[in-house]
């Protein structure tokens, strides 16, 4: 067996190598500037659904959506009859574009995901396959101050090519970082800003002294006054790496994203954001239990990103009774704007955004709210609501063509358009095709093996318990796996180790 297995391994590696080559999405001739996707059912998220309509894309932007759209003569027509057009989904919070979610240093505002973003990560390829056209890459939750994030599209050969919006947010966490407790976590957060103030004071003092030095004067006022006078003299290059991003965050150039793993972490996060004047651009990334603080979040009037685990389970302290809460319902009841995020570490269905939306609908959320939670809401939360999140004239042409309704788990992604360019085509997805081929071969092999086992003894193919056939009615052969149809059901897309 040993040599055969290694031969199979070689085959796999070869196939994967080929697949990687083929997966490069924007190879070949320059893409057409005008594309018309016609005949599909359009779910625009904003506005009424169109049963059969056309989306016209010009120069990467949607220019017309409707049942009756005049298609220019020079547009490339793509017939999507019977398919569903849905806005590209948005992953609002992910560290998977990075090699590790967090650096070891707890307070690291000087880090930027730009330095670690790896375009060749299979995660981006999977995102495309799952219909995600925008990813917010941000440091993980295990930090005090994490680093600066970036919004990217899952295509491109370099971080610059991928970038939709550079330097969007700075990550904070009020939930204890591993090895610390809440007391230490909060002390570290407060220290970060107290130290910043101290640094800014000293810097201002130094700048004032420097400005006097030019005129050969000595410092003539007390430190407090010197700090006040030095304040306007500070230029951006004067800040050191450690403090620059905190200053940018205070100035509103960077949003403040707070991770609140538990309900009790929400209050301190809101208090800190308010105290440091970061609340206006704050977003709260919640753990499952944090829904209990929905009241506090409602007062803060800021959007939230929910945990991939949509159910919160706990035991009653006295009776031991298990209580289960569906988190999105509680958040929706509080009237909060929320986005769903796919699970990073499960092979289960929670890694698909549209599945999570379907779970929401199943648990009582309106369909509109569930669909918005994976498209328009994350776009708004990322500050890109005017560009992304819906199929509307004027918006960026990020469109997913699905084989069926987005909330039907049997639907799969057929085509993905990003900026009006076809970024993904399932028919050309070598990895999926190869995977299916291998599975077919395995099924074939299993069938042969079964037949070989049955042959020596069995003469009658029918099983003993099978009902008698009626005369003249040719019964179908005994149940067996059907040879794969041209369109097989969607397979779980597994990441193969390289």
């Amino acid at each position: 067996m040993r040599p055969r297995r290694s031969a199979a391994c070689c085959m796999n590696v070869l196939c994967l190598a080929l697949a990687c080559l083929a997966a490069s999405p924007v190879a070949g001739a320059a893409p057409p500037t005008k594309v018309a996707l016609k005949g599909g059912r359009i779910i625009p998220v904003v506005g009424e659904e169109i049963a059969k309509g056309t989306v016209l894309i010009e120069n990467g932007k949607i220019t017309a959506v409707g049942a009756e759209v005049q298609i220019p003569y020079d547009a490339m027509e793509v017939d999507v009859t019977g398919k569903v057009l849905f806005p590209g989904m948005i992953d609002p919070h992910s560290a998977r574009g990075l090699d590790v979610p967090n650096e070891n240093v707890p307070v690291s505002p000087f880090l930027n995901v730009y330095d670690a973003l790896d375009p060749s990560k299979l995660f981006f390829e999977d995102s495309l396959r799952d219909g995600v056209t925008t990813v917010h890459v941000i440091p993980g939750n295990n930090c005090v101050v994490g680093g600066v994030s970036r919004v990217v599209r899952p295509i491109g050969l370099s971080p610059d090519e991928m970038t939709v919006r550079p330097d969007l947010a700075l990550k904070f966490s009020t939930t204890p970082r591993g090895g610390y407790d809440r007391m230490a976590q909060m002390a570290a957060l407060r220290e970060t800003f107290a130290e910043l103030d101290d640094y800014l004071g000293r810097l201002a003092e130094g700048k004032y002294e420097e400005s006097l030095k030019k005129d050969d004067r000595k410092i003539d006022v007390g430190p407090a006054e010197a700090r006040k006078r030095g304040q306007p003299l500070i230029q951006d290059p004067d800040y050191d790496d450690k403090h620059l991003n905190l200053v940018r965050c205070r100035r509103g150039e960077l949003a403040a994203w707070f991770y609140c793993g538990a309900a009790t972490d929400v209050g301190p996060a809101i208090a800190l954001a308010t105290e440091q004047k970061l609340l206006e651009k704050a977003v709260f990334v919640l753990g499952p239990e944090a829904y209990k603080a929905a009241g506090e979040l409602k007062k803060a009037k800021r959007p939230v990103v929910l945990d991939p685990l949509l159910f919160y389970r706990e035991r009653d302290e006295l009776t031991g009774e298990l209580k289960e809460t569906f988190v999105p319902s509680k958040i929706a009841d509080a009237g909060l704007t929320f986005a769903l995020q796919p699970s990073a570490n499960t092979s289960m269905a929670e890694r698909y955004l549209n599945y999570e939306a379907a779970v929401c609908v199943r648990n009582g959320l309106p369909r509109k709210a569930a669909l918005e939670a994976i498209t328009l809401n994350p776009a708004t939360i990322l500050g890109l609501g005017d560009k992304l999140g819906s199929i509307e004239a004027g918006k960026t042409a990020n469109i997913v063509v699905l084989s069926g309704d987005p909330l039907d788990f049997a639907s799969w992604v057929e085509l993905v358009y990003i900026d009006g360019i076809q970024a993904y085509d399932r028919q050309k997805d070598a990895r999926i095709l190869e995977l299916l081929k291998l599975e077919r071969a395995a099924a074939e092999k299993a069938k042969e093996k079964k037949a070989a086992e049955e042959k020596p003894g069995a003469v009658v193919p029918a099983a003993a318990g099978e009902p008698q056939k009626k005369d003249g009615d040719e019964a179908p052969p005994p149940v067996e796996p059907k040879p794969a149809e041209p369109e097989p059901k969607p397979e779980p897309k597994k990441e193969k180790p390289r």
């Binding site: 240093v105 707890p106 307070v107 690291s108 000087f110 610390y180 407790d181 809440r182 007391m183 230490a184 976590q185 909060m186 002390a187 407060r190 220290e191 107290a194 130290e195 101290d198 640094y199 790496d241 450690k242 538990a262 309900a263 009790t264 209050g267 301190p268 239990e289 209990k292 603080a293 009241g295 506090e296 009653d316 302290e317 006295l318 009776t319």
Partner: protein, 930 residues
């Protein structure tokens, strides 16, 4: 047919509605009336009896005894509970996690560690509602402490985010770990620094280290790196945050006092095991002390061994702290849940109750700086209330409820255990307990004594010191529940079938203290009528019926004394035969079982009695036997619901037996009846949960055709039957008993005859024969036959002029239920009480109401009897244990002893003192609402 019929039954049964669910109380505004209130407010020591607390939006608005309850607030009545402020734990382990490395860690705030959304009901259940949040006890300056409430809305839980600067002067804080600084930003320009050692390492260095830390914080050296802890210390120092010094030993305590004095800081000391030696200095410096009590809750304390330096906690040292402002807490590391009991042990040191209670409520709240929010019950404070089952320092007291910020935060899980206490517990004639109590579980008395067990969550009903508890009173003969219906009931029917949820009339009797009534019909049948023992309160039939058949009453008041024997004897003879049949069966069964056990079981039937064999009825002309198609219509059956079915009937003599063949029914029942010429009457042997059996009657109007009605509880439907087959149908289950032995030779029991069952019981001496007789001659005749001839238990009901028989009655142990009119004019025209005369000659007497809810005046009747000479003790015994004994129910009711029913009455004094009134009535462990 089946559906229609089932509809009928369902409609009838569904009349019994379920009680509505009680709504959960969630509002933070309410009024609470409690038996006792301990406010712990300054200048208000002691206990307030019967006070009211008004709470609005989570705050106390008013507390007092003479406060009108506003009409817009729900009133919570807790007449047996003691309400006090929630306990304040000045030392707690709530929220403690990891100890940071820094010896001076002033920037750490313990309140950050507190989970505002966590469920602290386990702690609340111990009575602690407020806890100090500690930043640690193993660093010189651990950080800033906080204070939190352990329940209520999350936003209101942190009472103080920074309440103190926590300092530990103790060997436990020596030798903190060295500090390693992180390299931020990590670069080659940043050299790795060696770990820097920290102080203190000895007692001599701890105060010095503190002094330096404070000095550097207030005046940072020029050009020094930013120090967050220094900055935090400076802020706390400038804000004059109280200093909390945690010390146990005399030397450290002295250092603590010196530190506070030299820096002119306000603060307090926690610990103080050796404080007794410094009591005067502590009191003189006006520094409060939180004395920590070592009271390990679940396992014994740590071993001290031979170390002469070991700290030995000694409660007696508390006695020396007379002038010190004192709060009590559990030792650090021990569970805060032991606070209440640990504080109660301070009674051993001679502390007063008032001082102990304020030492775990108001004083710690003042020390922690939250006395304007919690710690006492006064207007303006948060409604953190503790509802206790008794005195807070009593061992057996439990927390019943906790209100946090006016919201119900904990409620003891409901148990059906009830502890009833009274100043005097009457156990029987001339037998009583002073300050006794009774534990009732599942409606039955479990324990009686001076100190009964008090399970957690048990509700406590306390009559108070002057109260007098007796067993529930018994009406020895009445008609409660008959509602004027004077139908005669036969010996086969128990009046217990009338019992449902206690109604207004029944509760009226219960509230008068009468908890059991021996219910018999207004007119007894010639063959006797059953007497049922019924409780006057309760909502469950099975709990209300003490005995379905407590006696069989015969009425010979209008019988010629010479004919009394004729009236009673045939029944007794029939009963005797019936009893013999059963005794034989039991003997056979015992023998069979013995044989079987010895392996000698035989297939031979043992003594098959011939008279039980079925004699074939002559089938000359049989208008019944065969299969019939039947149609039910009319009444509540809608035309579209009409169904046809098939019924098989069989005629044996004049007895009809039938079964429904079609449609298939969910239950198998038989139809029994009799044929009388052309008329058939009978009933459907169908279990209808106490509604009786549906009856039918009809006429065979022509050959093979019959029509008539089926009725149940006044509802009537018509039927119409046609015979389609005359051949006999074999039923699966035979009703007529042909065999006396089962397949394995096991003897089968004889048929139960409901009308002879009570006679059997009398012959077995399990119930008495109750005979209503008036004249002396009648009584003579009754006693002749029942007592002398048959030697049966007898109770005489309402006899007149019975004193002449007193000797005979006492000798034969015949009970007498005195006439409803307890007083009688004797031949000298003097009022006398026959009961008195009888009881003095050793005859047991009991009282009857002879009415329905008129039974409520029974205790009053007793009072008149006492006025006329009956001893109060005898009157009480007559209404309790003696009445129960007459009916052979003394194992169930009539006394207070383990195993008896939980029925009792609490009077304000002895029940037969004119000034005593009924205070509380408990039936089956549940209090009857006034």
């Amino acid at each position: 047919m089946s559906r229609a019929f089932l509809l009928l039954i369902v409609a009838m049964v569904s009349l019994m509605a379920l009680p509505p669910m009680a709504g959960a109380q969630t509002s933070a505004s309410f009024a609470l009336r409690a038996g006792r209130i301990i406010t712990a407010a300054p200048g208000q020591p002691g206990v307030m009896n019967g006070g009211v607390i008004i709470v609005r939006d989570g705050k106390i608005v008013a507390v007092g005894t003479d406060i009108a309850v506003p009409s817009d607030l729900p009133l919570i009545e807790l007449p047996d509970a003691t309400v006090m402020p929630g306990l304040v734990a000045a030392v707690s382990n709530v929220g403690v996690t990891r100890v940071p490395d820094e010896s001076i860690g002033a920037a750490y705030r313990a309140s950050d560690n507190f989970d505002r959304y966590a469920d602290y009901r386990q702690v609340l259940a111990s009575g602690v509602t407020t806890a100090h949040l500690s930043p640690g006890a193993t660093r010189l300056m651990s950080g800033q402490g906080g204070v939190a409430r352990l329940g209520g809305p999350a936003s209101s839980r942190v009472l103080s985010a920074a309440s103190d600067l926590t300092i530990t002067l103790d060997p436990g804080a020596y030798n903190p770990p060295p500090i390693v600084e992180e390299l931020v930003p990590p670069s080659s320009d940043n050299a790795i620094k060696p770990a820097s050692a920290q102080r203190p390492s000895s007692r001599i260095g701890q105060l010095l280290a503190l002094k330096e830390a404070v000095g550097e914080a207030l005046k940072p050296p020029a050009g020094a790196k930013f120090d967050d802890h220094g900055a935090a210390l400076a802020r706390a120092w400038q804000a004059n945050l109280p200093v909390r010094v945690q010390s146990q030993r005399q030397a450290d305590l002295a250092g603590a006092l010196a530190f506070l004095a030299s820096n002119q800081r306000k603060g307090y000391i926690v610990g103080g095991t050796e404080a007794a030696a410094l009591a005067d200095q502590i009191a003189g410096a006006n520094v409060p002390l939180v004395y920590t009590l070592s009271a390990p809750r679940s396992s014994p304390a740590a071993n001290l061994g031979n170390d002469p330096e070991a700290l030995e906690p000694d409660l007696r040292s508390l006695a020396a702290l007379g002038r010190v402002r004192l709060a009590l807490a559990v030792a650090p590391g021990q569970s805060v849940m032991g606070l209440r009991l640990a504080a109660a042990t301070a009674l051993r040191a001679g502390l007063t109750r008032e001082r102990i209670i304020e030492a775990i409520t108001r004083v710690p709240a003042e020390i922690l700086g939250v006395a304007d929010r919690v710690g006492s019950l006064a207007p303006g404070l948060d409604a953190d209330l503790l509802v206790l089952s008794g005195d807070p320092l009593e061992t057996t007291t439990h927390v019943l409820r906790v209100y946090a910020a006016g919201r119900l935060a904990f409620r003891a899980p409901g148990t059906d255990a009830v502890v009833v206490k009274a100043g005097t517990v009457w156990l029987g004639p001339d037998q009583w307990l002073t300050d006794g109590s009774v534990l009732i579980e599942k409606g039955k008395i479990v324990a009686v004594g001076k100190h009964v067990p008090t399970p957690p969550g048990a509700s406590v009903i306390d009559g108070g010191p002057g109260s007098f508890m007796t067993p529930g009173l018994i009406d020895a003969y009445g008609h409660l529940g008959l509602q004027g219906d004077n139908t005669t009931t036969g010996p086969d029917l128990s009046l217990a079938r009338l019992v449902g949820v206690a109604d207004v009339a029944e509760l009226r009797v219960a509230r008068a203290g009468v908890t059991t009534v021996m219910v018999g019909p207004y007119r007894a049948a010639q063959s006797g009528s059953r007497i049922a023992a019924i409780k006057t309160a309760g909502d469950r039939r099975d709990r209300r019926v003490v005995s379905e058949t407590a006696g069989l009453v015969f009425d010979v008041t209008d019988v010629d004394p010479a004919s009394v024997s004729e009236r009673l004897k045939p029944r007794l003879e029939a009963g005797k035969k019936y009893l013999e049949m059963w005794q034989k069966y039991e003997k056979d069964l015992a023998e069979w079982q013995k044989n079987k056990a010895e392996g000698k079981a035989t297939q031979q039937p043992i003594g098959a009695p011939k008279e039980a064999e079925e004699t074939a009825a002559p089938k000359v002309e049989d208008p019944i036997t065969g299969t019939w198609t039947a149609r039910l219509f009319g009444g509540p059956i809608r035309p579209e619901d009409e169904r046809e079915g098939k019924i098989a009937f069989k005629l044996t003599g004049t007895a009809i037996e039938g079964r429904v063949l079609e449609p298939a029914l969910p239950m198998d029942f038989k139809i029994t009846g009799t044929l009388d010429g052309k008329r058939i009457t009978g009933r459907l042997e169908l279990e209808t949960r106490g509604l009786g059996y549906p009856t039918f009657e009809g006429t065979i109007d022509k050959e093979d055709h019959c029509s008539g009605t089926v009725s149940l509880q006044g509802l009537t439907i018509n039927f119409d039957m046609r015979r389609i087959d005359k051949s006999e149908v074999e039923f699966k289950v035979k009703s007529t008993r042909k065999k006396t032995t089962g397949k394995d030779g096991r003897p089968l029991p004889p048929k139960v005859d409901e009308s002879l069952e009570p006679i059997k019981s009398i012959l077995e001496k399990r119930i008495p024969a109750v005979v209503a007789a008036t004249t002396s001659a009648q009584i003579d005749a009754v006693l002749d036959i029942l007592v002398d001839q048959y030697d049966l238990p007898v109770v005489l009901l309402g006899p007149e002029g019975i004193e002449v028989h007193a000797g005979r009655l006492a000798e034969k142990n015949v009970g007498v239920v005195v006439p409803t009119d307890v007083m009688r004019r004797d031949e000298k025209n003097q009022w006398s009480v026959p009961g008195d005369v009888l009881s003095r000659r050793g005859v047991h007497v009991a009282f009857q109401s002879g009415g329905e809810d008129g039974a409520r005046s029974l205790p009053m009747v007793g009072l008149y009897a006492v006025e006329r000479g009956l001893s109060a003790e005898t009157a009480l015994a007559a209404m309790t244990i003696d009445a129960a004994r007459m009916y052979r129910l003394d194992g169930r009711i009539g006394s207070l002893a383990p195993g008896r029913e939980g029925d009792m009455v609490i009077f304000s004094g002895h029940p037969f003192e004119a000034g005593s009134r009924v205070e509380r009535v408990i039936v089956g462990g549940e209090e009857v609402k006034p």
